[in-house]
């Protein structure tokens, strides 16, 4: 048989170079600020704009529109490398680059791209996406926000909850949002700018367990006036837009999980070789070996599933729902467990912020909730598999 020489995690030279660029940037610029911004619950806007200089904010935007023209697997690499150091900052990146930029670029027309893409690819404007509402989460089709057309304008009413990048600090609204709402013919989406009449910051949400370096907000639309030319596609098109973009969202959240887990495995392995107890390094004890070995094996299993899913993913087409749900389901739970294992190996030091895993442990929990709860994935996978038994083996 011919030998297969595939590096699944870096299948092309471009992926290898991308990982090197992001890892070098993270080591020099992201890691040193992570603990401070987490403690202060602040978003590092200047650092975010540096991602724009590197081309990371438009990572999946085709080169002809001024983006970097990379694929889903490249987006996975970027999220994995950023999250290994600062998941909170990475979440702000994800909300901008995947939930706004990628979604917008794939569904916008030429005029819309012309008006907005430059500003979001450079990082001049910070974007987000509005789907969840105060009383509607997993049951997304039950959303209450509504846009009613009168002449050349829509009047948008409703509230959106847990919006990453909704605020830049306590008082400043984010710059631009892709907002889902009911319209006469089903779910539509709109580009809403800060400054549109009737659009305001309800509240910036404080006291999150983790992901404290990204800002989360409740946004209010009170007869918000949106020009018709800011609707993406036709009325009713956006259920498809939403489903398609949820796939890359889930895959990149899985990548944040492997980023967290990889870092935790690294930290616990090093610590266990240096820390001694009863006269020998603690990695000589079976109990510690179990934490390290189980963590590594679970991490590699999830990571392999992640890259297997990403390498086959076409950003222009839906159709990866089973595995984008599947990999998020397995990777997020794995990350939480591995972060917990790392904290246990480090004992009292693991509980302190400066040993890193404490922050990653808090951050990991959100990944089981945001971008689709575990329960949403279980629901979707069961439904899809029942229809497509042929995918099982």
């Amino acid at each position: 048989m011919p030998t297969v020489n595939l590096d699944l995690f870096n299948p092309t030279e471009e992926h290898t170079l991308l990982r090197k660029t992001v890892r070098d940037f993270v080591r020099t610029h992201v890691e040193p600020q992570a603990l401070e911004y987490d403690r202060q619950e602040r978003f590092n806007l200047p650092l975010f704009r540096q991602l724009g200089d590197l081309g990371l904010l438009g990572i999946t935007v085709p080169a002809e529109y001024g983006g970097s023209g990379m694929d889903a697997l490249a987006a996975v690499i970027a999220h994995e490398e950023l999250s290994a150091s600062d998941p909170g900052f990475c979440l702000a990146y994800l909300a901008h680059a995947m939930l706004f930029v990628n979604n917008f670029c794939h569904n916008a027309n030429a005029d819309q791209r012309q008006r907005y893409l430059d500003k979001v690819i450079s990082g001049e404007w910070v974007g987000g996406m509005c789907m969840t509402e105060p009383s509607v989460g997993t049951d997304v089709l039950g959303m209450k926000s509504e846009a009613i057309r009168r002449g050349d304008y829509y009047y948008l009413n409703g509230r959106k909850m847990f919006i990453t990048n909704g605020a830049l600090d306590d008082a400043t609204l984010g710059n631009i949002f892709l907002v889902y709402a009911r319209t006469e013919k089903g779910i539509s989406s709109f580009v809403v700018e800060k400054g549109f009449s009737g659009f305001s910051l309800g509240q910036r949400l404080h006291g999150k367990a983790g992901m404290r370096a990204s800002m989360t907000a409740e946004l209010v639309f009170d007869d918000c006036v949106v020009p018709v030319e800011n609707r993406l596609g036709e009325e009713g098109d956006s259920l498809l837009h939403m489903m398609r973009n949820l796939e890359i969202e889930r895959v990149t959240i899985a990548a944040m999980s492997t980023g967290i887990a990889g870092r935790c495995v690294e930290v616990m392995t090093r610590y266990a070789s240096e820390r001694t107890a009863f006269g020998q390094p603690i990695n000589a004890f079976g109990q510690i070996q179990r934490y390290i070995a189980d963590s590594y094996a679970q991490y590699m299993a999830a990571r392999t599933y992640l890259y297997y899913t990403a390498v086959r993913m076409d950003l222009n087409k839906p159709g990866q729902r089973i595995d984008s749900d599947g990999v998020k389901l397995v990777a997020t739970m794995m990350a939480k467990q591995v972060a917990d294992n790392a904290m246990q190996v480090l004992g009292g030091y693991g509980y302190l912020g400066e040993y890193v895993v404490e922050r990653l442990w808090r951050d990991a929990k959100l990944l089981e909730i945001g971008g689709g709860t575990l329960e949403a994935h279980q629901k979707n996978i069961t439904k899809d598999l029942t229809r497509r038994m042929d995918l099982i083996r």
Partner: protein
């Protein structure tokens, strides 16, 4: 201005280097390789010169096995225009490297050759000087600032020397070797990475250059540095001075 920049593949300074038990070299299994950091500074400077002058060409040159392609591709992703790889599997000393570079300079006729002041693996700090001697070109080593005359016929370089800074002027073409404080190299941007694949890496078998690369130096033995021992605290400056004199024997 056409600039030739040398690129050496060296072990990542972040990796732990282990010496083989027989002292014949270092253990190369599972170590990562990078562009020699001083060469990375040279690439950055060449790119800045091109950007400032609004034109010109940046050509990367390396000598080694096929694996060096990885470092050349990184340099191309940073923004260099093309690369030349002299395929050579045998280890080379600085003079052999300088002789091969002489042949390439004769082929490429650049106005400037930018090199790292030394490679962080063997720290020889010789190839640039030898190349200048062989070509009979002016040289400015340890550059921390480089400026060109408006007509691009001459350059002024500030050098980091032991006593401070030295400013020298000379005519081009010339060899300049880069020191740490010259600049801070850029990251390969994502659009740069996507463009790099389409750029040429021309491979030349070492024999085709017809240079005498017979080794003049042999590595006799490699040994790891002695392990650092725990320090000690002393109460007074006088006690420190005494120990430096009697125990450490450094003053």
């Amino acid at each position: 201005m056409k600039t030739l920049v040398t690129v050496k593949r060296v072990p990542d300074p972040e990796t732990t280097i282990r010496v083989k038990p027989d002292g014949s070299g270092i253990v190369t299994d599972n170590i990562k390789y990078v562009i020699n950091p001083f060469d990375e500074i040279a690439i950055e400077e060449a790119l800045r010169i091109k950007e400032k002058q609004g034109g010109g060409e940046v050509v990367l040159v390396s000598i080694g096995g096929k694996s060096v392609t990885e470092q050349l591709r990184t340099g191309l992703a940073m923004g260099a225009d093309r690369a030349i790889l002299v395929l050579c599997e045998q280890p080379l000393d600085s003079l052999a490297v300088a002789k091969l570079l002489t042949k390439l300079v004769e082929k490429e006729t650049p106005e400037l050759v930018l090199m790292g002041k030394q490679a962080i693996d063997d720290d020889s700090n010789q190839a640039g000087q030898m190349l200048a001697a062989l070509l009979e070109w002016p040289q400015a080593t340890f550059a921390s600032k480089i400026d060109f005359a408006a007509d691009q016929k001459s350059a002024t370089v500030i050098r980091e020397v032991d006593g401070g800074l030295e400013t020298i002027g000379f005519a081009l073409p010339a060899i300049i070797t880069t020191d740490l404080r010259l600049n801070e190299p850029r990251y390969a941007s994502l659009p740069g990475i996507m463009k790099a694949r389409k750029k040429e890496i021309k491979e030349i078998p070492v024999a085709d250059l017809g240079a005498d690369i017979t080794p003049r130096l042999t590595v006799v033995k490699m040994a790891p540095p002695p392990k650092k021992e725990a320090g000690k605290k002393v109460e007074t400056v006088q006690a420190l001075l005494d120990l430096l004199h009697t125990e450490a024997k450094v003053i």
